[in-house]
């Protein structure tokens, strides 16, 4: 089926109610959503199908950046002590309707309170619905952070925190903070079908959910009453779930879809050469690294870590492991994140100097383990191959490497341990576009024995990131994080290996698509040229 026919016959979508000139945008998604209540899940594939089309948040990430802009809150104020966030809500915002529910009122403060309380309070009737584990709400430490949420009036909500925390506002733009309808929740509870919140989502977002055929197709229709006037541009949005990357490519070529994510790196060149396909690209919001255990000699010596870093040929890794779809990393945060310190100069690849530095520190005949993850990740598409390249690089300076690997769950658990042996390959994809989400989570003292795989607790660094965490002013925070990156570079708890490059092949008639650094695939601003 060609898209031309598809558009011409869009009128046949009786249930979708498409008009004669209606446009249908088809997105060949890579997998199935786990459900449609974003707070229950953590996978990007789920967010693409739920939080981006169906919902809004109090504040939103501006598509294409990590900047936070107004969403369902027109504005917000932070008290001087950084403990109170007061949101002024937008008025006249409509929730979607479906065959079970027609909203009786506009969006208001009750919806905000319901959205968070169900994740937070065990006595909320929705707390246990759908086996709710609220991974992100808990993972972002919201239960510790929030003291109370108060409804000041119908259109004003105040969050009171237990401690000042600047990244809080970015958290409010995350998927788990998508605003659900309290009225719909009450109606479904009364009808004895509370799980419908997760199966037939009702939000305020640009697209209304129509239907989901498991593992096959998700259908959305334009929300004609969307508060952001003039958006979205297309009448129908369809996700054609296509797990295999080669098949997505064939479907894009055959005109069975307009946009596809995650091409095979090996296909990217052919796509760029194809006049029928436009390839958009941007660095991903992630970092792949090799974390030494800084608590165990000789890796407790920054000079040893630095020497090893200089022995790694990152360009070879980019060419072989990423097949070009990556960029060498010099900082622990990716270049698309604000406060990225571009003034930092990476350690040169210099095996001779590395060997000399090790000799200076009295290190001879060193042998170590390098851990290779058993799974594929955007920040590391082939950890085994990467480990082999590092093994060869280290052998060249006289360091012996034994490569070890475990089943993924085991790997995550064992690599967290403080007395772990050797250096671990791992990485991180940012959650909320805040530098704190990289620097504090992965390198802060609280993370030792957990997400801080270098087991690195260095007071001068810790002081800077803790100060940045409680500073509200973005310019001040930027300066602090830039300083933190300088300290990181001197101390070298990791070898920063790479940031992935995200490629998005789209058909030429697709207009207004922006690659989003936070990884979401967002179609609010997309239109199709005739």
């Amino acid at each position: 089926m060609k898209l031309r026919n598809l558009m011409a016959s869009a009128g046949m979508l009786a249930l979708i109610g498409a008009g004669a000139s209606a446009q249908t945008l088809v997105y060949c998604s890579e997998g199935s959503p786990e459900g449609f209540d974003p707070a229950l899940y953590t996978a990007g594939t789920t967010f693409d199908a739920s939080s981006h089309p169906v919902y809004n948040r109090l504040v939103e990430f501006e598509t294409g950046t990590t900047n936070v802009v107004p969403g369902l809150a027109e504005s917000y104020e932070v008290s001087d002590d950084g403990l109170e966030y007061t949101f002024k809500l937008r008025q006249g915002v409509k929730f979607h309707s479906n065959d079970r529910f027609t909203p009786g009122r506009d969006f208001n403060a009750d919806d905000v309170i319901f959205t968070f309380e169900r994740q937070w309070k065990a006595d909320n009737p929705y707390n246990q619905v759908s086996g709710g584990t609220w991974e992100y709400f808990n993972g972002m430490s919201m239960p510790d952070l929030i003291a109370s949420i108060e409804k000041v009036d119908d259109y004003t909500v105040k969050f009171i925190l237990n401690r000042p925390e600047a990244p809080f506002i970015a958290n409010m733009a995350m998927d788990f903070a998508s605003i659900l309808s309290a009225e719909y929740a009450d109606a479904m509870l009364a009808a004895g079908t509370p799980e419908m919140l997760n199966q037939q989502p009702v939000g305020t977002g640009p697209f209304r959910f129509v239907a989901y055929q498991k593992d096959a197709v998700i259908r959305y229709q334009r929300n004609a009453e969307y508060w952001d006037a003039g958006k979205p541009k297309v009448e129908n949005l369809v996700f054609a779930i296509t797990p295999d990357a080669s098949v997505r490519y064939q479907k894009l070529k055959a005109g069975e879809c307009h946009v596809m994510p995650f091409p095979n790196p090996a296909d990217v060149q052919a796509m760029k050469d194809d006049p029928g396909i436009t390839v958009l690209e941007q660095e991903g919001l992630n970092v792949g690294y090799l974390a030494y255990n800084s608590k165990i000699p000789p890796f407790d010596n920054p000079k040893v870590r630095k020497a090893l870093n200089m022995a790694i040929d990152k360009q070879a890794i980019i060419d072989v492991v990423f097949q070009g779809s990556g960029e060498a990393a010099k900082n622990p945060i990716p270049p698309t994140l604000w406060s990225y310190n571009d003034a930092i100069v990476d350690d040169p690849y210099d095996p001779e100097a590395a060997r000399a530095m090790l000799a200076e520190e009295g290190i001879t005949g060193l042998s170590m383990k390098v851990w290779a993850m058993p799974v594929q990740r955007p920040y590391n598409p082939n950890a085994r191959r990467m480990a082999e390249l590092i093994q060869a690089d280290f052998a060249a300076i006289g360091v012996g490497v034994e490569i070890v690997s475990y089943e993924w769950g085991e790997y995550l658990e064992r690599s967290s341990s403080v007395d772990r042996d050797g250096a671990v390959l791992l990485g991180w994809t940012g959650d909320n576009g805040d530098p704190d989400n990289f620097l504090a989570v992965l390198l802060g003292c609280d993370g030792v024995g957990g997400a801080n795989r270098a087991q690195w607790c260095y007071q001068p660094f810790e002081d800077v990131i803790q100060k940045a965490k409680i500073t509200a002013d973005v310019a001040e925070r930027t300066a602090l994080y830039e300083e933190a990156q300088v300290i990181f570079k001197e101390q070298a708890p990791w070898a920063t290996i790479a940031h992935s490059v995200v490629f998005m092949p789209v058909r030429p008639e697709v207009e207004g698509y922006t690659v989003h650094p936070l990884g979401g695939h967002i179609f609010t601003d997309v239109s199709l040229a005739e």
């Binding site: 459900g35 759908s130 593992d215 054609a240 797990p243 295999d244 089943e407 085991e410």
Partner: protein, 336 residues
């Protein structure tokens, strides 16, 4: 015949219990903790881990967990997926019709071509047709599915544009799922062209999935026929002056059918378990990919419940094969 049936049915119960136990044990023997896998790179605090551990019921001794699972199964409750938070039962029956539809098409395709091809090859033993067919069957049998599927897609969907690349239905058609079988639902929808679209979407996956069973059936039919054709009664039938069609088709084929039906039954059993590669390549929403994804995520309820349901289906197929034996060969049912 009824006694024969009852005796076959009685073997069901111990097999069912055994499968329940094995499916429960299998996923728990694998290394990897579902809670840790779920938390991913982020990790989680010890308190949070303990909380989830209790919530998933892992704090109970294994025999108690098994007992809870077994009593649930007997009441028709297979548990809830850790990942999607939906009942395993609902998920299975949302996906199984797709697998069943494709499996049936593939097996019908394999029989429709494999059976006559095997008979003709046997009758023309050693001649060009026989040799050509048997070497083709060998190629088909050893075909890497992934490569074969992509090749067909590139040629027929990409270059020629005759068939759609993947999926079950053109996106312009939209109708509620009644039976879950696209061929039936498209007819029920009354939408013009929907049935044709369902057929067009089935062609390539049917060929890909049917290739190996086709080769197996053709080879099995040929060797079973060759054995029967050398029997004395065939010579007698020929000597009586019966037409070759009657000799080969009626006397020989019927007696050659028992091993062929066994092979067909085994193939159907394998197909019902879901064809992971075919389903992945053709974006076919069946149970193969669902099961494999769940194993990687250590989604215990889905893996144990899915295995149990698949095993039950295979047992039903085996029972059908046993009944067919009895129908074709009276000696088998008389023995019981």
């Amino acid at each position: 015949m009824i006694r024969y049936l009852l005796s076959r049915l009685l073997t069901f119960l111990p097999t069912f219990l055994g499968v329940t136990l094995i499916s429960f044990a299998f996923i728990r023997v694998l290394p990897g903790d579902p809670i840790i896998v779920m938390a991913g790179e982020r990790g989680l605090t010890e308190e949070r881990y303990a909380e989830l551990y209790r919530q998933f019921g892992f704090d109970q001794p294994l025999p108690v967990q098994f007992w809870n699972y077994l009593t649930g199964v007997l009441q028709g409750d297979l548990g809830t997926s850790y990942v999607t938070k939906r009942p395993v039962w609902d998920e299975f029956f949302a996906l199984f019709p797709a697998t069943l539809e494709l499996s049936l098409c593939a097996i019908v395709f394999a029989i429709a071509i494999g059976l006559p091809a095997g008979v003709i090859a046997a009758v023309n033993r050693g001649k060009l047709f026989d040799r050509a067919l048997m070497s083709t069957a060998l190629v088909g049998y050893s075909m890497p599915i992934f490569w074969w599927a992509l090749l067909l897609i590139i040629v027929f969907s990409g270059n020629l544009g005759w068939t759609p690349v993947s999926g079950r239905m053109d996106l312009i058609y939209y109708f509620p799922q009644v039976t879950g079988f696209m061929l039936i639902d498209s007819l029920l929808s009354g939408q013009n062209g929907a049935f044709a679209s369902a057929v067009r979407h089935l062609i390539l996956p049917t060929i890909v999935l049917g290739t190996i069973p086709l080769a197996v059936i053709a080879r099995q039919t040929r060797s079973a026929m060759l054995e029967v054709l050398s029997e004395d009664y065939i010579r007698t039938a020929r000597a009586k002056g019966l037409s070759p069609l009657r000799v080969n088709g009626l006397h020989a084929l019927r007696n050659a059918m028992i091993p062929v039906i066994t092979v067909i039954g085994l193939s159907v059993g394998t197909l019902l378990a879901g064809a992971i590669l075919t389903e992945t390549i053709f974006s076919w929403p069946g149970i193969g990919k669902w099961m494999v994804d769940s194993i990687f995520r250590r989604d215990y309820p889905v893996v144990q419940g899915g295995l149990l349901l698949i095993a039950s289906m295979v047992m039903v197929v085996n029972l059908t094969v046993d009944i067919l034996y009895g129908l074709i060969n009276p000696k088998i049912r008389a023995r019981k």
